[in-house]
Amino acid sequence: MERKLLTKDSYKLLISKIISGKYQLVAPVKVDALVDFRRIKSADEITEDYIVTVSSAKSVAFPRNEKLFGFEKNNKKLEQTDFDFDSIPHTVLLGVRPCDAMGFASLTSIFCWDSVDKIYTTRLERTIIIGMSCAKADASCFCTSVKGNPGNTAGNDLLLTKTPDGDYITEIVTEKGAKLVAEFYELFREDKGAEKEPLLANVPEVFELDGILAKINSKFDDEVFWSEQAMRCLGCGACAYVCPTCACFDIQDESHGKTGQRVRCWDSCGLSLFTLHTSGHNPRQNQGQRWRQRLMHKFSYMPDRLNTVGCVGCGRCSRACPVDMNIAEHLKSIIDN
């Protein structure tokens, strides 16, 4: 893979040039005590002091609310305003962790499964992902258990790895990445061939993925197992909403008087309403069944049908969970049990 070097000064320059150019730049910034992605106006806003951002980067391609089309009722006639693809901005997404970047593959596999979701794909196409390798990890990280690693290039267009002297090793992963480098070629230097591995965080493997994949289906009918696992789960949607691969959505019409819009917004299988039928019947009656769905979807249905694991080991769900439903720990118990 081709490598370049971006000095710390030219890194800042690159950011300024991107902002002043045709791209909008989205990067991690400090939002009070947290770090999250925001559109930024200056390089100073960016922070590097984070394990992962609170929210995943998925909203660049799969925003939490997406207006699919607008409508207006006039004199008993309905007029529709189609989605405006021109409104999708060209975006550079900076500071994405390798786990997050890997998540786009999962999302894409869902949004392009039987038919292609043009809005999603266009948003993703217009986004250049500049990843940032992890130098730190915490107790919730487990990317190495799902075939990722802190310096994984997959899903990135460029991957930066910060060296001790503050420069960035730049790996050019895709054509798109190469184009961006070409666009700002004057900022990139030749790589000195520094070793990347020692700069990366150590993320121990919590479980053996193949073991899970092999065993999880056999646990499906073990109601006691799932209900014990989900005993403390409160049934909120925090895990799904911060997850880089959760793709479930709801479709809502929002209207004021004669005008309105159809909106696609995030939804979560953890919420009891998710599967509630009009009849009152709920095929997933208890939290154990909903929790099972979450794990099965990621570790059985997606591998089976989409040939991809629906989890990138970012650990966000565990961090966001009010009751510490640590997914890695629960997965491990599938093997142990």
């Binding site: 929210s55 939490r64 403390r232 917004c265 995030w266 565990s318 009751v323 640590n326």
Partner: protein, 267 residues
């Protein structure tokens, strides 16, 4: 710490209890709720300062209601919530055992709602210094600043409803947000709908919020939404002398009235 393990072990061994709801050490050493059914697992249980999560909400969960002999390891927040939940007819005396702690850390069993009320009466009911300071800061702002502050906060809300799920007082099997005829709270998480949601949530907690702050602690985006319910709790106390979680037979502040209630804002 050991006395909780010892006590619960005895309860499980003797068969006095078949389930203990308590705390254990979770990821990164932070405390989390745990359900212990076997005496040999009693060693998992901890009780220390990190156990500040309000876990009273588990008491009315159907799975747990079905358990006949259960005990809950209750911190002060949980105790207050138990009182409030009892006053709202959601939990009933004798359905569970309550293990609490004296100021000295001694484990005690509170055998009746009356004993819990008495214990709760000895506890501090106000806000902590940090929250007090934040409240004062917000109240000192101009109206525009306050709006700006909350608009920014509400814009971050992703409507995961962790605040609702973790609040022991949010026990409705069908929440108003789940009603779509009419759609009181928009499903998408835009600022306008988020604002409506948080205002409604705070209003629904009028006279019921025991100021544990669990909603904010649970928020993945760290929104200071506990201040909204605190505001309502403080007003309930200031104007109507109602403090939630102190009396099993108290009437809700908005379910009662006095003919001489304040009305200087009414023309």
């Amino acid at each position: 710490m050991n006395n909780i393990q010892q006590k619960t072990k005895e309860l499980l061994e003797s068969g006095a209890c078949t389930l203990i709801i308590g705390y254990e050490k979770g990821t990164g050493g932070k405390a989390r709720p745990v359900f212990v059914r076997k005496a040999e697992h009693a060693a998992k249980l901890i009780f220390d300062e990190s156990c500040d999560q309000n876990i009273a909400g588990y008491l009315y969960r159907q799975e747990i209601k079905n358990e006949s002999k259960k005990a809950i390891v209750a911190n002060n927040h949980t105790l207050k919530s138990i009182v409030e939940l009892a006053s709202e007819n959601q939990i009933h005396e004798g359905d569970f055992m309550v293990l609490a702690f004296t100021a000295e850390g001694e484990i005690i069993e509170l055998k009746s709602f009356e004993e819990i009320e008495k214990h709760v009466a000895t506890l501090y009911h106000g806000l902590n210094d940090e929250d007090k300071a934040t409240m004062q800061k917000i109240e000192a702002m101009t109206m525009e600043e306050r709006w700006g502050f909350w608009e920014n906060e509400f814009s971050k809300c992703i409507k995961c409803y962790a605040c609702r799920a973790s609040c022991p007082m949010c026990y409705c099997p069908t929440c108003t947000v789940e009603i779509n005829q009419p759609q009181w709270i928009p499903v998408p998480s835009h600022t306008l709908g988020n604002l409506e949601w948080h205002v409604m949530r705070a209003m629904h907690l009028a006279g019921r919020c025991i100021t544990c702050g669990q909603c904010a602690k649970s928020c993945p985006l760290d929104l200071p939404i506990h201040l909204l319910t605190y505001k309502v709790a403080l007003d309930s106390e200031q104007y109507f002398d109602s403090v939630a979680g102190t009396s099993v037979c108290a009437n809700n502040v908005l379910a009662t009235f006095k003919t001489e209630d304040h009305e200087n804002f009414i023309r």
